[in-house]
Symmetry: C2
Subunit: 154 residues, 2 copies
DNA sequence: TCTGAAAAAATGTCGGG
DNA sequence: CCCGACATTTTTTCAGA
């Protein structure tokens, strides 16, 4: 399915996506053209989904992380609520969670004032929503989308 | 602090970080060298923190998302627990949350079996931990680290 | 799938405004 | 802070193994 060299390439890119191709080639011991061919293939297969810049939230006034636990009145509202939540610019994650059948939503705002405004104006009133529990992050010790690759069997 | 053109550049990079510099220059109406200068400056300022490849978790057998709510016995254990949680490869996020004074941890695993193993072997036994509540995501509707830039006042 | 060489394109440098 | 020309480096293509 995916061999060891491609895993190595993914691992290198996951650390530093803007590393030049020639450098990746050197590290895995192939010619640049071979590496390019592999990367193109990984992109076409959808294993590589894209490339993102990592911005510093603090320096851009987006240092308030909050989690909302949203329970529903009516199960039918699930889809529409999910779409409405996902459409908000402050929303970073929307998951439907086992247990109490609720959404867990991660928001990034500029302040508690703005968070409150977003919840009141765009979330609390959505049809189908019963309760919104808001939890604010006092500290964020880790925040990453990295996927561990060493566990994958080639 | 940061002007409109730099915000435009960040916005373009946030959509597609691997876009060539000349293309960014064309879109913002500057010479490539001017754009390069701005990007270097943003990197040095720490506003741009790095570049990441976005991998598809499903295609890499990492499609199980779980959230742990971890309450502590002893408040002094906070730091050591945070470090231990952050060190686990499956851990993607570790937040300390208001309300019940607990950690909210996001994990990405390959299966419920592996999730269970990780919790039992590396988390439940950590000194200072009182309870671990595990919630599994049945569906993930949005998952992004994008920061909305249009709200920022230049 | 890989290589190596050549062509095409982008990045990086720098004097000057 | 920007431009534009030039040097350097990288990406991309391609024929052959």
């Amino acid at each position: 399915m995916i061999d060891d060299i491609s895993l190595q390439i993914l691992s290198i890119l996951q650390e530093k996506a803007r590393i030049p191709n020639v450098e990746v080639a050197r590290q895995v011991g192939l010619a640049p053209s071979a590496v390019l061919e592999r990367i193109r293939k990984l992109e076409k297969q959808g294993i590589i989904d894209g490339y993102e810049v990592r911005l510093n939230p603090e320096k851009l006034h987006r240092d308030l992380v909050a989690f909302l636990q949203i329970t529903l009145d009516r199960p039918e509202a699930c889809t529409s609520v999910a779409e409405a939540l996902s459409a908000l610019p402050d929303t970073q994650e929307v998951h439907y969670i086992t247990g109490n059948d609720a959404f867990l939503v991660k928001l990034r705002s500029s302040s508690v004032t703005e968070l409150h405004r977003t919840v009141q104006k765009h979330i609390a009133g959505l049809p189908g929503i019963a309760r919104v529990h808001t939890h604010i992050a006092l500290a964020t010790h880790k925040e990453s989308a990295k996927i561990p690759l060493d566990a994958i069997i080639p």
